[in-house]
């Protein structure tokens, strides 16, 4: 099944990615190829098969609610392109 440019544009919105026209074309082609190959899975009868989400038994992992030191705020903010007064800064939202 060939993917349309329109579909790729929709996926780009879902994925928060700005794409160029060339990218849209090449990704549409490459995704179609990969999905066509993935259709091989349809040869499998998976009627009564439980999906394997995870290799280990899915258990909640708990720990004691103890206060431990965390990474200093300044060190973490140092990796942000734009920070101000101890906060991450983003364009106005509302």
């Amino acid at each position: 099944m060939a993917l349309t440019i329109k579909k790729v544009e929709h996926l780009a919105i879902l994925s928060r990615l700005t794409l160029t026209d060339e990218e849209k074309e090449s990704f549409a082609r490459q995704m179609s190829d990969i999905l066509e190959y993935a259709d091989k899975l349809n040869q499998l009868d998976t009627e009564n098969i439980e999906p394997m989400v995870y290799i280990l038994p899915a258990l909640n992992v708990f720990r004691e609610d103890e206060v431990i030191p965390s990474t200093p705020r300044e060190e973490l903010l140092a990796n942000a392109s734009v920070a101000e007064d101890g906060y991450f800064k983003v364009p106005k939202i509302l």
Binding site: L11, L19, E23, F27, L41, T46, A80, P91
Partner: protein
């Protein structure tokens, strides 16, 4: 023999007997990097000054630990406090972690000497290092060819004598394939054995941190240092970790080895098939019981992997939005553009392709057709292995369908490039330990044999690998990059 040719255990003796100081050893390795790095291109970031300083501290106050004073490198998706960690992506080009990955801390505790951060495919998405935003890494055995990937820098650096060992990560073969291409021992441990805290996520249900070394004993030494439960990794498993070097003898009498016929067909080069079959024959002579088996669902591992890995990657990479860390498009005047433009500028083509495909297979219309179907296939692949392991101890296959390939060999053929992983991906899908060991040369290029074990039976794998290694000297061969021998 030169210092840069030696194994960890050989270097360790020199350090312990005070025949060489850690600073002298570090300087020898730095000199080797100066000599060959331009040809190989294994490093993204060198940490020369830090290394000399760490070595000086060790010489001043030595500890008696197996990896103390030994120079190593880390794949650049393993976070290092204060040392830039890029994932070979423009997105993280300036990212300096405020904490160490657990495995990085483990090696620091050993007083190992970090020489730098090693090249990979961008976010470990690829099998050649060609998707690295910085450069492809050459194969030390033939500089016209690639080191493989995604842990290509980790493998090439060890093969070229730039570090004594390295850590990599393996999602679908990213340790075993480059280890095979570069003539090294590569181990992807059981899912959950080694902490992934601070290892930057690609596909969380498949990723494992592992080891690349020059021989099997070294592999056991490094695994000793990094294996074990970590409360900071929710997928870390609480088990008693053995000493992987204890009783490592190479005695494999009575070991039940299976070889799945599907892994000796497909598109695997006949020369590699012949070499692995010869190895199986040798195992028989050493007292193992070798039997052919079938893993019929393994051929569905690759298509299922395409779906599952892209789905998880698209989710994991949602965190790169230009706000808290990573590249930011400062021109954007609203949040939606900030996200979309920062991501467009920061990610390369392969990463974008995987994110889009992941969004597709997770979208409401296609979730059942692709993602759910792939997870069901994964169950079948997993149960296939479980069935074989009821009557066998280990499984042996070739590691890769070919030896190292050339730059741009698959430029117009993405699916054929992806097929490189066909023999290694099923192991990740089943969460099993997998190891590649050198099993000979084809036209001057190394070939690898894959050993697959039951969950947490790394020791059995190491012992079987050692048995083969002791019967050969492939592991002693070093590529000729100039310099004294």
């Amino acid at each position: 023999m030169q210092l840069y040719d030696m194994t960890i255990s050989e270097l360790s003796v020199l350090i312990k007997e005070r025949k060489i100081s850690a600073q002298e050893l570090t300087r020898a390795y730095l000199q080797r990097i100066d000599e060959v790095e331009e040809q190989v291109g294994a490093f993204i970031t060198r940490t020369d000054e830090l290394a000399i300083q760490q070595a000086g501290e060790f010489d001043h106050n030595p500890v008696n630990k197996p990896l103390a004073g030994i120079p190593y490198g880390l794949k650049d998706n393993i976070c290092t406090r204060g040392v830039r960690t890029t994932c070979a992506s423009k997105m993280l080009g300036d990212f300096v972690p405020a904490y160490n990955a657990r495995v990085a801390a483990c090696l620091q505790d050993q007083q190992g000497i970090l020489l730098g951060k090693l090249n990979l495919d961008e976010f470990a998405m690829g099998c050649s290092t060609e998707t690295s935003a910085f450069k492809p890494t050459s194969n030390p055995w033939d500089l016209q060819r690639l080191a493989g990937g995604s842990s290509g820098g980790s493998a090439a650096a060890v093969a070229a004598g730039e570090v004594a060992y390295s850590l990599g990560t393996d999602t679908g073969g990213s340790i075993r394939q480059p280890a095979a291409y570069c003539g090294l021992v590569g181990l992807k441990p059981t899912y959950g054995l080694v902490s992934r805290f601070g290892a930057i996520a690609n596909t969380s249900s498949l990723d494992q941190v592992g080891v690349i070394t020059r021989d099997v004993w070294d592999c056991a030494l490094v695994l000793n240092a990094i294996a074990g439960y970590d409360p900071q990794d929710g997928t870390s498993v609480k088990i008693d970790v053995p000493d992987y070097t204890a009783d490592l003898s190479g005695d494999i009498k009575g070991l039940r080895i299976a070889y799945p016929r599907e892994y000796f067909q497909n598109n695997t080069d006949t020369a590699i098939v012949e070499q692995v079959k010869r190895a199986l024959h040798e195992y028989e002579q050493l007292g193992a019981i070798v039997e052919e088996v079938s893993l019929p669902y393994s051929e569905y591992a690759l298509p299922a992997y395409y779906i599952i890995s892209r789905a998880e990657a698209s989710t994991n990479l949602a965190r790169y939005d230009g706000v808290q860390f990573g590249l930011r498009d400062v021109k954007a005047d609203n949040v939606a553009d900030l996200y979309a433009d920062s991501r467009a500028a920061g990610f390369g083509a392969e990463v974008k392709l995987r994110i889009l495909l992941g969004s597709y297979v997770l979208s409401a219309d296609y979730y059942e057709t692709y993602y759910l179907k792939a997870m069901k296939a994964r169950r079948l692949i997993h149960d296939d292995f479980t069935r074989v392991f009821e009557n066998h101890d280990i499984i042996i296959t070739p590691t890769t369908p070919t030896t190292a390939f050339q730059r741009d060999e698959f430029r117009s053929d993405l699916l054929n490039l992806y097929r490189n992983d066909i023999l290694t991906v099923p192991v990740n899908m089943a969460g099993l330990p997998g190891m590649s060991v050198p099993c000979g040369f084809i036209d001057g290029l190394p070939a690898g044999m894959q050993l697959i074990g039951k969950p947490f039976k790394e020791k059995m794998l190491l012992n079987a690998a050692l048995a083969f290694e002791q019967a050969h000297d492939y592991y002693k061969a070093r590529p000729n990059l100039g310099g004294d021998r």
